[in-house]
């Protein structure tokens, strides 16, 4: 029996965050695909508060919330570190993670709404992209330096989900020439072997989100 289990769903960027971290650290795990329209007793037992995925189960104990899981993985399996050593660098990393938690996917999915809500979502998202472009990336390959970190993983949804949402919602906010650093980052992120091998298909995603919205 695998010591580590992950409850997730294939279209979820939050689920993928944990998969990327597990793969990057070489942690063997057993994956369980959840049907969110028919949640398993295991999911309801392991995440009674939110009843959401992802949930990590390690040695019988369950941990919920993707970023909380990532920090737990980092502390429990220190190989291939995903966080800097220096407390200030770590604080910066956590700051940018929090930024995307507040301004990221949650805002982008509002593109599926209409009228004022959509307009506001588009305005907020554009501002978010500008902030990252101007303040977060700098000259580094990834958010914290030369190697992928927890921050890159947190922003990983931009590597596939952002384009799918924009395509379906008929919105074009992210233009490579307007956001060259971000564009370069997206390419570098997707080129990383562990990420490349672990991305949901573009077409499958289109079908899934189209049916959902």
């Amino acid at each position: 029996m695998a010591e580590v289990k992950l409850l997730g769903t294939w279209p979820s960027p939050f689920s993928y965050r944990v998969i990327w971290a597990l793969k990057l650290k070489g942690i063997p795990y057993e994956y369980f695909e959840e049907d969110l329209s028919n949640k398993s007793p295991l999911l309801l037992q392991c995440n009674p508060v939110h009843k959401k995925i992802p949930v990590l189960i390690h040695g019988g104990k369950s941990i919920c919330e993707s970023i909380v899981i990532l920090e737990y993985l980092e502390e429990t399996w220190p190989q291939n570190p995903l966080m800097p050593d220096d407390p200030y660098e770590r604080a910066l990393a956590r700051f940018w993670v929090k930024f995307v938690e507040e301004k990221g996917v949650a805002v982008w999915v509002k593109f599926f709404s209409s009228g004022e809500e959509k307009e506001k979502a588009m305005k907020d998202s554009l501002e978010m992209l500008k902030t990252i472009e101007e303040h977060a990336l700098g000259k580094k390959k990834f958010f914290c330096g030369d190697k992928i970190s927890l921050v890159d993983i947190a922003y990983g949804w931009m590597a596939r989900w952002m384009e799918v949402i924009e395509e379906l919602a008929g919105v074009k906010l992210f233009e490579p020439q307007k956001f060259p650093r971000l564009h370069a980052w997206m390419k570098d992120f997707k080129d990383e072997p562990m990420i490349k091998e672990n991305l949901p298909g573009h077409d499958e995603m289109l079908v899934y989100f189209k049916n959902k919205h």
Partner: protein, 220 residues
């Protein structure tokens, strides 16, 4: 010149969290009160992205976002740890801190800003979350166990501000009858010395909050 500075606001629970952590660890710091209606050049320079308090300055470097600051403080000053040492317990602390900030607090604020016909639903939601929180507390003295920890610090909004909000608005969400365990925690909490020293004066806070509830849309 102080090595550690804190830009804060007297009435902000987020600001007070950081002060509590610094005091708990015996870290000397210079406190700078910000007027949020007229933000200082220093604040705008140190937190250009959010332009909010609290901001911690340490050796010339700036850190924003109260939870990020709390993690930084715990990693930098090792006396009286705020976070548990065990990775699983730490994960649980982070989970509950997130629950407080992302689920509990917004639900409470939602009541205040909701239209009259949506208010009952908003109240139900907030009560559900507070029950979840109370369930986590069970028979522990504090969320952190025998002594206050991260979750207790982050729950300062529930521990103190909620009471002031209730008095300012005339709405009672939490009382000894419906939340006996939470109220017991609140009593322990506000009497805890490090907490007591880091609370705004109650009357001033109520006076500050009252005008927000006397707007015509609020009737309770």
């Amino acid at each position: 010149m102080a090595e550690v500075k804190l830009l804060g606001a007297w009435g902000s629970p987020f600001s007070r969290r950081v002060e509590m952590a610094l005091k708990l660890k015996g870290v000397e710091y210079e406190y700078i009160e910000e007027d949020l209606a007229d933000k200082s050049p220093l604040l705008l320079k140190c937190n250009p992205i959010h332009k909010k308090v609290p901001v911690l300055l340490h050796n010339g470097k700036t850190i924003a976002e109260s939870l990020v600051i709390l993690e930084y403080i715990d990693e930098t000053w090792k006396t009286n740890p705020i976070f548990p040492e065990d990775p699983y317990d730490k994960a649980m602390a982070r989970f509950w801190a997130k629950f407080l900030d992302d689920t509990c607090m917004p639900a409470i604020w939602k009541i205040m800003w909701s239209k009259e016909n949506q208010r009952e639903k908003a109240i139900e939601e907030a009560i559900q979350h507070l029950k979840t929180l109370e369930n986590e507390l069970k028979d522990k003295k504090f969320f952190g166990g025998e002594t206050i920890g991260l979750v207790d610090i982050v729950a300062n909004f529930i521990g103190f501000w909620l009471g002031a909000v209730q008095e300012a608005s005339g709405m009672e969400l939490v009382n000894k009858e419906n939340f006996p365990v939470l109220c017991r925690w609140i009593d322990e909490y506000v009497n805890c010395s490090v907490v007591k020293q880091n609370l705004p004066p109650r009357d001033e806070l109520i006076a500050f909050l009252q005008p927000r509830f006397s707007a015509s849309s609020w009737k309770y």
